[in-house]
Symmetry: C2
Subunit: 357 residues, 2 copies
Amino acid sequence: MSKYWSKITAAIEPYVYGEQPKGRKYIKLNTNESPYSPSPKVLEAIKRAANSNLRLYPDPDCEELREIIANYYSINKNEVFIGNGSDEVLALSFLTFFNPGDTIIFPEISYSFYPVYAELYGINYINAKLEDDFSIQVSDFFRENGGIVIPNPNAPTGRYMDAEEIKRILEFNSHRVVIIDEAYIDFGGTSVVSLIKDYPNLLVIQTLSKSRSLAGIRLGFAIGQEELINGLNRIKNSFNSYTIDRVAAAAGVEAIKDEKYFKECVSKIVSTREKVTAELRELGFNVVPSKANFIFASHALYNAGELFARLKEKGVLVRHFNKEKIDNYLRISIGSEEEMETFIEIVKEIMNELKNN
Amino acid sequence: MSKYWSKITAAIEPYVYGEQPKGRKYIKLNTNESPYSPSPKVLEAIKRAANSNLRLYPDPDCEELREIIANYYSINKNEVFIGNGSDEVLALSFLTFFNPGDTIIFPEISYSFYPVYAELYGINYINAKLEDDFSIQVSDFFRENGGIVIPNPNAPTGRYMDAEEIKRILEFNSHRVVIIDEAYIDFGGTSVVSLIKDYPNLLVIQTLSKSRSLAGIRLGFAIGQEELINGLNRIKNSFNSYTIDRVAAAAGVEAIKDEKYFKECVSKIVSTREKVTAELRELGFNVVPSKANFIFASHALYNAGELFARLKEKGVLVRHFNKEKIDNYLRISIGSEEEMETFIEIVKEIMNELKNN
């Protein structure tokens, strides 16, 4: 505490990001990064952007990147908003669409940044309860509210909701903005971007950090009808007009354009995910069905906290949330084929050690 | 207006950034960019950063960049905070140190983003009046307030306040945070960074956009005692943890390290500024004494709006603010020696045209 902090600075409980290890080399399966390099075309574009034009401000409207994304989804570029990672897009969206004092709804188990944004802006929230298998109940969103946020697939569970369920939520809440956070949509789900033409209250948020292997460059985007995008621009231009630098914008353009490379990476990750899921189940794990680039797994005989600690000791970082209902689960990002083979070997080793104790 | 916007989205008047022309090639003297390329070492660092590690999140704490800046100013790295441009640092600082409903003070003529941040967070403000020569009166800050922001040198006037005056403000307001926005400090002023050890209420904000020629990469920083920096981190980690990408961080490190190149660029800009100032005065302009990379000039016989329009027609972009007290001034960024020679020629041309009308 400091007497110089504002009340909100003193009161807020900031988001806790997954450990970014410095020093020891881990098999890093804790922050849902891609095991694959960005497209070679992205790396080339970055090198090309390293020129004297960096003395000039970037395009604050990110025209070119918006056009490429609009093209990819067959929509209009005025239906696209770019932000410094989908976290920034989310942070700006809460302020743009939700009112302080109003009560929004998001699932009880979901991205742990949502309650932080709500607290930051004085927005109240209630949680939609999940079933025991972590599936989301559509009916939980059929009540008065000031807005809705749903990650699809959900994180950290990996659970996926289909478009029909989302439509029912959009229809009941036609007077409120419904944010569908599709950070992990490319790993087996189908985006609801095409619904924006029928639902003026739908805002879809995506990121280039996961399926486009660009966590190290900060790029996320929102898609919605122009009215929603205009609102986001009003708030962005009241916070920071130049959020996307010249290099990042150039990288993003190539990342979206190189569809072939993108599809190859995604398909490798999906096939590794299915293989690891089967292997863990073989070892007695309960693995939640996942459409994301991670899996959520629990074992009846072995405590997740214990498994987390032993994995770390042996050089594998996964994520463990000390939170009711999920404290016996591990979230395991899908690494390369080889990394996941090593991971499975180490899990077997640990299970043997624990059995012999 | 949209029924989906929050109240603040509907009410706010966003910041209006200087025109970033697409298409026609201008002599661009309107957004205080450097006429010189970033250091060759910066461009090399960016190329080196274009590698497969971009699949991984960047260091959310920007350790290396903070260390280099701390080293440059002989302070501790825990006294440094990095943001996505100094605009983001300012936006986060308003939220971290000022309370909604409180009244902060900044000069009536100053960076036009300040009132926007205040409105965004529901912070009230009053303006310190400037003298006719645009100098700031220290006594205007000797009154009850919820915080203070002063750009030094001031923008768009270029007026500089010395450390003794700033000390008096810091002393009177020892219970409030005083932000000194030093975006333009390197062009002839002396930073008050060294005062942070004596004044726990001082936060100094700087940018790499101007003197380090990196407007195209978004990097700014704040310097203050650890307590203030911790507050900024709390708010940052409640908004967006990963604001600085891997490429930008690498560029920033080299930009600060290459002091020789930095000093060369700054000294060229300062000498061009002095030359242009003398030439404009010769032509009858009133030029406010500037310690920035721009000058603020007015002519008794020619209307600034008219000059602005004719300059633009002839391929020179400068900035004109349609605002009481300064609406007969032009803010002219200092370009290269050659650009400024052309600028002076064109000004003469326009003056001749107007004389003959």
